[in-house]
């Protein structure tokens, strides 16, 4: 099939796209807290922290594409932390995971990112 050289992407490239998706969803969550932050002081902090985290994830995704090892390490840590929190919260009877959307957002995408990051590392080792 005809392809330009620019379309030859790796697992890290796909992982970075998924991280951008996660960062965008975090950004939306942070922005959505703003109306509530008007009357709930605690949400001012949570909303701001979430927006900053989203910005950090955009930055990590960018550096992952550039092959920075520290970005890879930070993302693995964040994704595993996220999956662990989801697993713990799903044990509580609070309906954290109900339906396909939370399964995709909280389980499928973080798992896919971890798998892709692992694949990217093995690709890099093979290349070395």
């Amino acid at each position: 099939m005809p392809q330009t050289p620019s379309t030859n992407r790796s697992a890290a490239e796909i992982a970075s796209v998924l991280v951008v998706v996660q960062a965008s969803l975090s950004l939306v969550a942070g922005l959505s807290a703003i109306p509530f932050a008007i009357v709930e002081p605690g949400f001012r902090v949570l909303g701001l922290v979430t927006i900053l985290m989203a910005a950090a994830m955009f930055w990590l995704a960018r550096n992952l594409r550039r092959g920075q090892r520290w970005a890879w390490r930070w993302l693995v840590t964040l994704e595993i932390l996220s999956l662990t929190m989801t697993a713990l919260l799903s044990l509580l009877p609070i309906g954290t995971i109900r339906g396909p959307v939370p399964v995709l957002v909280n389980l499928a995408i973080p798992t896919a990112v971890v798998v892709l990051l692992a694949a990217a590392k093995s690709d890099a080792r093979r290349a070395a």
């Binding site: 099939m1 109306p35 009877p93």
Partner: protein
């Protein structure tokens, strides 16, 4: 807040079948190619030559196409035709990703148009946002993100780079906002207010149910009259909830009554209004133990239980917001669904009535000075 619409449930099966079919197709092609079947070897070569990002984008478009086509029988008129055209378009583009050089731009336009059309449909009230629709938009957003990464780097001028940096987050924000607006502007019959799901009940109360509801109100009013003074409630084991600037009502909960079911003498919580003159007892709250476990409703539609869904709850006080349609909450808070509850308002609750999920806005304003 977002459930799975009954006429959309089949889409989950369609999505799984599409994935299994796609894997089986690729496996079958490889099998035939290994046995030197010429056409299979040719198609396998084309498929293997494509980058992983193209394969994934094609798979996601195929998945979205399968979901749309599965929804055609449940949607009549224009919506059904749009789903059919959309589904076929995704299938054609998914196949075209391996056969053409020009597929990327039409695919980007098709994905963006599909997402925007969905927003138009939900905002207009022609479609109720549910988890299948939202999951489908998430799949399309991921596919869109992948296609945006396939853009030609030789044309990365600054305006293009800036646009590429903000386009995807902007699309995610617009999608979220649109689904939110649609859901809030056109709630279904079982959503009393944003985040409250009502117990399914009959439309009209029988005379017997009307009498039972009146009895429940009278018994509750008589029982909790002893707690007019909050100090008496505290002495009886009710613990005051935290003060919130957002909510002028305060719930005093008694964990000793957690296992009791709709006993007017042992409610799970008392509700006080924060008036300019101090706390005023305005009602009781009965609560079940688990989410989805609807309580007995002696008054039928008059005593309809409700549970709160899609709330981002923070352990740092009783602060909360609504989760996004993509089930995300601000960091430090988590999505929760409460166990079903039934309020019994012992004051005149205006047009909402004595068992409503919410205190009537006018009554609340009169009591607390806040709406």
């Amino acid at each position: 807040m977002y459930d799975i619409a009954l006429d959309h449930a089949g889409a989950i099966g369609a999505a799984l079948i599409t994935l299994v079919f796609a894997f089986a197709f690729v496996f079958g092609l490889r099998f035939l190619a290994a046995r030197r079947v010429a056409w299979a070897a040719c198609i396998t070569h084309v498929y293997e030559a494509a980058p992983s990002i193209t394969k994934l984008a094609a798979a996601l478009m195929l998945l979205s196409g399968g979901i749309h086509l599965a929804l055609v029988p449940g949607h009549e008129g224009t919506t059904g035709v749009v789903f059919l055209v959309d589904g076929l378009g995704f299938v054609v583009l998914a196949v075209g990703a391996f056969l053409t050089t020009w597929w990327r731009r039409p695919a980007v336009l098709w994905l963006a148009a599909t997402i925007l059309a969905y927003l138009v449909w939900v905002i207009a009230g022609w479609e109720t946002p549910d988890q299948i629709g939202i999951a489908c938009k998430l799949i399309e957003l991921v596919a869109l993100g992948l296609l945006m990464r396939l853009a030609n780097p030789t044309r990365r001028t600054w305006p293009r780079r800036l646009w590429r940096a903000i386009a995807f987050p902007l699309m995610a924000c617009v999608t979220t906002l649109g689904i939110w607006v649609g859901g809030l502007a056109h709630p279904d019959a079982l959503h009393a207010h944003a985040g409250a799901l009502l117990q399914p009940v009959a439309a009209v109360a029988t005379p017997k149910q009307q009498a039972a509801a009146a009895q429940l109100l009278a018994d509750t009013r008589a029982s909790i009259a002893r707690y007019q003074d909050p100090a008496a409630a505290i002495a009886a084991g009710f613990k005051p909830g935290p003060v919130s600037k957002a909510d002028p009502l305060r719930h005093f909960q008694n964990s000793a009554n957690a296992n009791v079911i709709l006993d007017p003498n042992r409610p799970q919580a008392l509700v006080y209004a924060q008036t300019p003159h101090g706390l005023q007892l305005i009602g009781a709250m009965f609560q079940m133990q688990r989410a989805g476990q609807w309580g007995p409703d002696p008054g039928g539609p008059l005593t309809q239980w409700h549970q709160h869904e899609g709330i981002c709850f923070s352990p740092f006080g009783i602060e909360f917001s609504f989760e996004t349609p993509f089930w995300t909450c601000p960091i430090g808070s988590t999505s929760i669904t409460t166990a079903p509850m039934l309020h019994v308002w012992i004051i005149d609750n205006g047009k909402n009535g004595p068992f409503a999920a919410d205190l009537d806005k006018a009554v609340q304003r009169e009591l607390t000075g806040r709406s």
